[in-house]
């Protein structure tokens, strides 16, 4: 059974997609969620990685247990000296980490290692550890690494259960250490392990988690984990040039064989399959950058995002603007009469699987909240909208899953409610009508300069159990501005209805409206006979 994880206010919830019951999850001690930074999620190995809004990176397991993604490393090495026992002669150094196990004793996560202790030479003694570091996090054990006599590689020596004791002694011989050296080099903690910096965005790709820091000096660098490990972040790649834009990498676009790094001024691409061949190259510069991290949605190996002058699509056909051809005015940065371009950076997108649409939430002109959205139908490759609801103000959106793991469309509201779209009942929220309001094309019979007499309008619609459609003719007179005719009511229970005569005009178009609670509407089409009256 699928489930949802959502941040509502400063609380993290696990939500049953069938009942909607939300269970608050307990955050690790000292970790809080910001209400000014949006959470970013990635999933790897059945764990949800959550960054940006938490004061430290966290992971959530399927049962809702929340842990720091990486325990903080011991800040200092343990003290090592010859103990009271016997058995060892040589010179040794020790490092320490913090580890978390599951109930079967499997390693879940491990911190970075402490610095190495000073080398201690002993003769026929055991090794005594004192001042072993204690963790501020909830851990299972302290893990100790030791070199072989005089060696440079560190081997797993032993685990000290719990988080209480600070001293022990052992005479374990070098031959009994783990067969292979430890991999201290992979135990690197990413930004967000300590408070102060955060992973502002993350994504899962090629069985690794990839992230970018909000540190202004590192916004062009991508950190990524070891294969399958959420706690080991030793790797990085840089999308050069660095420092060209204060926001650096804005978003990630994970495709089948490429990971897109989206900056405001272009697209970079990571390809490869392993550490040995991951590489980054720039694909697009100038146009095609990304304004909003949450606008990036990848659908069937096609990535969509909001750029600074339109919506872009990246597929095997390359990068192209998909809004210029039909709705360029919606996204033009200057003199935009539709949307508040200053809030483009806060736009968020989602995939509406039921309608096969990429949907992008934007702020209406003059608005400071994302109270409108537009849809790009991937089947027709046409745009629809702008849409709105009077029931609530959207604050985030995403593709969801129902209890069977099948796709749904989710919209979060500033009212704290998580909503589902595409519902069969035609209302928003609990009782708010959906304001269906469309303007069609102008009809002029290929003679826009000739006065026409438009006769009776015949409307075809899907038969409904009740309700009416309001059809308002907008008439372009011989001269002067368009005038609004009297609205005509179409009875939806009829399916077909011949309505009144429209009248004289050079051109006419129709506004089709309905704003009735629980009432659907489907317009198949209309017919409008006319004859030319005169030419002036």
């Amino acid at each position: 059974m699928a489930f949802l994880v959502a941040q509502g206010g400063s609380t993290l919830y696990k939500i049953d997609p069938t009942t909607g019951v939300a269970t608050a999850l307990t955050l690790p001690t000292g970790i809080t969620l910001s209400t000014t930074r949006k959470p970013r999620f990635a999933v790897l190995n059945q764990w949800v990685v959550m960054t940006n809004s938490p004061t430290r990176n966290i992971v959530i397991d399927p049962e809702g247990v929340v842990r720091p993604m990486v325990p903080r490393a011991p800040v200092s090495p343990p003290l090592v000296a010859g103990g009271s026992g016997t058995g060892l002669t040589g010179s040794w150094k020790v490092k320490q980490s913090f580890v978390v196990f599951d109930t079967a004793g499997n390693l879940l996560m491990e911190s970075a290692l402490s610095p190495s202790s000073a080398a201690v030479a002993i003769v026929n003694k055991d090794l005594a550890i004192t001042q072993a570091a204690l963790s501020d996090d909830s851990i299972s054990a302290r893990r100790f690494y030791r070199n072989t006599d005089g060696g440079t590689d560190f081997f797993h020596w032993l685990d000290l259960d719990g988080n209480t004791l600070t001293s022990f002694q052992s005479n374990l011989a070098d031959a009994a250490l783990s067969l292979l050296p430890g991999q201290p080099d992979i135990l690197v903690a990413p930004p967000g392990t300590l408070p102060g910096t955060r992973l502002k965005n993350i994504v899962s790709w090629k069985n690794r988690v990839w992230g970018v820091s909000d540190d202004p000096a590192e916004v062009d660098t991508v950190y990524y984990t070891e294969d399958g490990k959420v706690y080991a972040w030793p790797n990085s790649l840089t999308a050069y040039p660095i420092g060209a834009d204060v926001r650096g990498i804005v978003g990630f676009a994970p495709r089948k064989d490429s990971l897109g790094l989206l900056k405001r001024n272009g697209l970079w691409q990571i390809t490869g399959t392993s550490n040995s061949n991951f590489s980054v190259v720039q694909l697009v510069s100038g146009r095609g950058g990304c304004e909003a991290a949450d606008s990036v949605v990848v659908i069937n190996d096609r990535a969509f995002w909001l750029g600074n002058d339109g919506v872009y699509e990246w597929s095997s056909d390359g990068v192209k603007n998909i809004s210029d051809e039909h709705v360029k005015p919606w996204f033009q940065p200057k003199d935009n009469t539709y949307f508040n371009t200053a809030r483009f950076q806060y736009a968020f997108g989602k995939f509406n699987a039921a309608r096969n649409c990429y949907e992008l939430h934007l702020a209406a002109l003059g608005s400071n909240v994302e109270d409108r959205w537009v849809s790009f139908n991937l089947t027709t490759r046409k745009w629809y909208g702008p849409h709105k609801t009077a029931a609530f103000t959207p604050s985030h959106a995403a593709q969801g899953l129902d209890a069977d793991g099948l796709p749904t469309t989710l919209i979060g509201g500033t009212d704290g409610v998580l909503y589902q779209a595409n519902q069969a009942t035609f209302h928003d929220g609990t009782v708010t009508a959906i304001d269906f309001d469309c303007y069609g094309p102008k009809h002029h019979g290929n003679a826009p300069d000739i006065l026409h007499t438009f006769l009776q309008l015949s409307v075809n619609s899907k038969i409904q159990g009740a309700g009416t459609l309001s059809v308002t003719p907008l008439l372009t007179p011989v001269s002067g501005a368009e005038t609004t005719g009297a609205a005509i009511s179409h009875d939806q229970t009829l399916g077909h209805e011949v309505l009144r005569r429209i009248g004289d005009a050079r051109m006419v178009r129709f506004r089709v409206q309905q704003n009735t609670v629980n009432q659907g509407a489907v317009l198949y089409g209309y017919e409008l006979p006319y004859f030319e009256v005169s030419r002036r």
Partner: protein
């Protein structure tokens, strides 16, 4: 001239704000607010413009604006059921009892019978080692695995059986070991443990007169392969002396085993340890305990052992990790047949069940928050009565389930209805299983929904 405008698929070609208004096609529009194409003929079809569907609340209002969400096609609902092994041979109507509430228990017969008490008491010599073995079942992924009863001791290999909530199966059987006299099969599986993703199994091998024998095996559940850990226990050359393994623990990166010598010969309590896969022999960490180990548990960085007091009055001993020194921390008033069993950590406190073979109230639950000073948490016999007699039988197992602590007390025989289970919940003890043929082992089965 005249004509007719025919618009089929109003708005279906989407919004077009780029074209000259006079050039818009019949299917284009300048605004399509709350309109969509529904790819379903019954609802209009792709060519027809429909009012969009509703957007309705899934949840009630959470603590504030929704800032983000992620949907996860992952398993989330695990049903955890607590089982206690019973020993009903007479009627066969109760191999185990189970509960999901902790309060209401039902009898079940589907899981195979846990190796009954007879297997641990039949042999005259070595009885104590067998009888006081910890004999815990284990929970591994979505099944429980435990010693089965379907074998004839001394003739057949003792089986490990499993139960996943539906199917009860024989998992594997423990073969005779190289230290077995005349190749006779092992007598019993004395304890089990899951650590590092594998299953450790302690077994007691024949013969039982004189030096006790046994082995610790590791079972890889991915391959089903059983391998011996370090050397065997016994008196032959190359074997670890001091008794047979009766309890296991994973502590500080090592496997620890408590040995019981069955009261044969001169010996004292012994705990051994090794690095599985690295060590070829066990290291005796102590050979001077004042009792025979019955259970081992790590607590606040140190290792504790609960003991059978046949060597004296030592009840619980602590091994200091810092010094490696063992010292008694709780004692019995009585000696022989007293036991300190079922050590467990619950809410930062170490508990164990004490059966003190002295005085009237023999059975109590003891606790300590520091491992040094101990107090009686519950005087069981002063609190609860039972059907037969005053004295309870020995505490056998303990477990934490749904944030509550459970202790089981085994029946005096497999068909005797005088076993009990107690629960500590919210600071209050309750007897949740009364007067049943409880054998003792507790385990939680985790089932995927």
């Amino acid at each position: 001239m005249g004509g007719k405008v025919d618009v089929y698929g109003f708005g279906g070609d989407g919004v077009n704000l780029v074209k000259d208004p006079l050039e818009l096609a019949d299917g284009e529009a300048t605004q399509l607010q709350n309109a969509e194409l529904v790819p379903d003929e019954a609802l209009g079809g792709e060519g027809s413009l429909s009012k969009r569907g509703g957007i309705q609340g899934l949840t009630s209002a959470l603590a504030g604006a929704i800032y983000g969400m992620v949907a996860l096609p992952l398993q989330t609902t695990y049903t955890r059921t607590l089982y206690v092994a019973c020993g009903d041979l007479a009627t066969g109507t109760r191999t185990w009892k189970k509960t999901t509430t902790g309060a209401a228990w039902t009898d079940v017969t589907t899981p195979l019978l846990f190796a009954i008490d007879d297997n641990y008491t039949l042999f005259s010599a070595g009885n104590a080692a067998l009888e006081y073995s910890q004999r815990r079942p284990i929970s591994y992924k979505s099944q429980i695995i435990y010693p089965g009863n379907a074998y004839v001791q001394g003739t057949a290999n003792p089986p490990l059986v499993s139960f996943d909530g539906t199917d009860a199966l024989t998992y594997t059987a423990i073969p005779a070991g190289p230290n077995s006299t005349t190749g006779a099969p092992p007598a019993v599986i004395s304890d089990m443990l899951v650590a590092n993703g594998v299953i450790y199994v302690a077994v007691i091998d024949p013969a039982y007169a004189g030096t006790m024998k046994g082995r610790v095996l590791v079972l890889d559940p991915r391959t089903g392969i059983l391998q011996q850990v370090a050397n065997a226990f016994g008196g032959n050359t190359g074997e670890q002396t001091g008794g047979a393994p009766v309890c296991l623990a994973w502590f500080n990166g090592q496997l620890w085993a408590g040995l019981h010598n069955g009261n044969d010969g001169v010996s004292t309590g012994r705990v051994v340890r090794c690095y599985p896969g690295v060590d070829t022999t066990w290291t005796a960490d102590t050979a001077t305990l004042g009792g025979f180990p019955m259970c081992l548990m790590g607590f606040k960085g140190n290792l504790y052992v609960g003991m059978n007091g046949n060597l004296g009055t030592a009840g619980v001993a602590k091994r200091s990790t810092a010094s490696g020194v063992w010292a008694n921390v709780d004692t019995f008033a009585g000696g022989a047949d007293s036991i300190g069993a079922a050590l467990i950590v619950y809410n930062d406190t170490l508990y164990y069940g004490k059966y003190d073979n002295a005085g009237l109230h023999k059975c109590v639950i003891r606790k300590s928050t520091d491992g040094a000073s101990w107090s009686t948490e519950l005087d069981i016999e002063a609190t609860y009565t039972k059907t037969a007699g005053t004295n309870w039988f020995e505490p056998k197992d303990s477990i934490v389930y749904n944030s509550d602590l459970y202790f089981s007390f085994r029946a005096s025989d497999h068909d005797n209805a005088d076993g009990q289970v107690l629960r500590l919940s919210g600071g209050v003890w309750t007897r949740v299983v009364s007067d049943a043929n409880v054998h003792g082992p507790l385990v939680v089965l985790v089932e995927r929904s």
